[in-house]
């Protein structure tokens, strides 16, 4: 069984930042305006910023997942998930689709998706295989929808999967908590950003003194 330090070993690991976008996080975005409580999403952003800073410092790969909706992927089934088919989010080219409080660096891939899972008909698996990544560290919003669907999918494609509890947020605390419980029980490991950063720091010190 892999230890946490193996599960987040920088050269074998990618951080998947899922859907940290204005329409899902900002009170003025479409979810917020639609009555969803985005306070947990906004509250986790400082922890996410610190975590990405540490990931970059230690050389872990950072990949941004961005949901974009447009007519070419608005299938009847997909649009039919809502009682009101006109309720749209993350439309191509809009403020709502932009990242919230974080931004990819020049060298960091952005993977566009059109469904909940970042693996569903996207280039993510190709990007991860190119990087020779074995572990994914998932975080973002919403815990129980896009992050959980991505984590489930990634695990079943044979990536070791670590869910970062305090860099993910849902619109409902009970749903957030149950996702973490299901993940820990059946899909992978759950850790805080602090535990992962401490692991990187400890491993780095060991390597430096070797």
């Amino acid at each position: 069984m892999r230890s946490l330090s193996e599960l987040v070993a920088p050269s074998k690991t990618a951080i998947l930042v899922v859907d940290v976008q204005n329409d899902f996080c900002e009170p003025a975005g479409s979810a917020g305006k639609g009555g969803k409580d985005t306070s947990a999403a906004m509250a986790m952003i400082p922890a996410l910023q610190r975590f990405l800073g540490a990931a970059r410092e230690h050389g872990a790969n950072v990949i941004f997942i961005q949901t974009i909706h447009e007519p070419s992927t608005d299938s009847a089934v997909w649009v039919g998930r809502r009682a009101n088919p006109d309720a749209k989010n993350c439309l191509k080219g809009t403020w709502g689709a932009e990242f919230t409080g974080i931004a990819p660096r020049e060298s960091e891939p952005v993977v566009i998706k059109h469904r909940y899972s970042a693996f569903l008909n996207t280039r993510l698996d190709s990007v991860l295989r190119t990087l020779k990544v074995e572990n994914i560290v998932v975080l973002g919003v919403a815990t129980n929808v896009c992050v959980e669907s991505t984590a489930r999918h990634g695990f079943m494609l044979d990536y070791h999967t670590v869910f970062v509890s305090d860099c993910s947020a849902a619109y409902d605390q009970a749903a957030h908590d149950m996702t973490l419980r299901t993940h820990q029980k059946h899909f992978g490991h759950v850790a805080t950003s602090r535990e992962i950063i401490d692991t990187w720091t400890a491993t780095h010190s060991v390597a430096a003194t070797a």
């Binding site: 039919g80 998930r81 899972s117 489930r152 999918h153 079943m156 044979d158 070791h160 059946h186 899909f187």
Partner: protein, 209 residues
């Protein structure tokens, strides 16, 4: 938004029976012997049997999903969930891998899977496209693991999902209920087997001529 009658229309819908296998359902199966309460799984079987009988009477295809574990698919990530052990659940050619109180008819497809979702590296999507299926009626165990993983992926592949609350079971009520919440809120419609059968009975015009 589609009505339940449209979402279970026999020519366009398939009943997906996920992992109704001895190791997941029977007290003397692998999970039961490991201390997981299988009472809910055993208790829902009469509902599932009634649903399958009605599905066959209306001409709605029934597809059996069967988990089989063997060395060829026991990857590092997959065995991680059991602490790196291979485990003893649904091993190939064992009693534990056999179906529990349901069985495919000779013309009903069985799709073998090696992960939680019945779509991951299986022929399920090809089988469904061949049948021109648009809607999946989800049943089986466990609600929040294999059935939910399959429903999530199926929805994202553009199948409408009807998730049956009383033909699925988990190893705790809480896990079952939050799975239904996720399904209802983001992935599809949650219904009972009685509601589906009533929709079939009320819509004779929709059954194949």
């Amino acid at each position: 938004m589609k009505t339940l009658a449209e979402l279970v229309r026999p020519a366009k819908s398939a009943v997906i029976v996920v992992d109704v296998q001895n190791d997941f359902c029977r007290p003397e199966g692998a999970l039961g012997k490991a201390g997981q309460p299988t009472a809910a799984a055993m208790a829902m079987l009469p509902n599932l049997q009634a649903l399958l009988k009605a599905a066959r009477a209306t001409g709605t295809p029934v597809i059996f999903i069967q988990t089989i574990h063997e060395a060829a698919t026991d990857s590092s990530a997959w065995t991680w969930r059991l602490g790196g052990q291979v485990g003893n659940c649904c091993r190939k050619d064992t009693w534990g891998a056999e179906f529990t109180e349901v069985a495919p008819l000779p013309d009903e497809p069985v799709v073998i899977k090696h992960r939680y979702s019945a779509f991951i590296n299986t022929r399920l999507d090809s089988v469904l496209r061949t049948l021109k299926i648009e809607n999946l009626i989800m049943t089986g165990v466990s609600t929040n693991v294999c059935v939910e993983s399959t429903a999530r992926q199926g929805f994202m592949m553009d199948y409408n999902i009807v998730f049956l609350s009383d033909c699925t079971a988990a190893y705790s009520r809480e896990e079952h209920d939050i799975s239904l919440y996720n399904m209802r809120t983001h992935f599809g419609v949650v219904a009972t087997h009685g509601e589906v059968i009533a929709a079939w009975n009320a819509a004779p015009a929709l059954t194949p001529a």
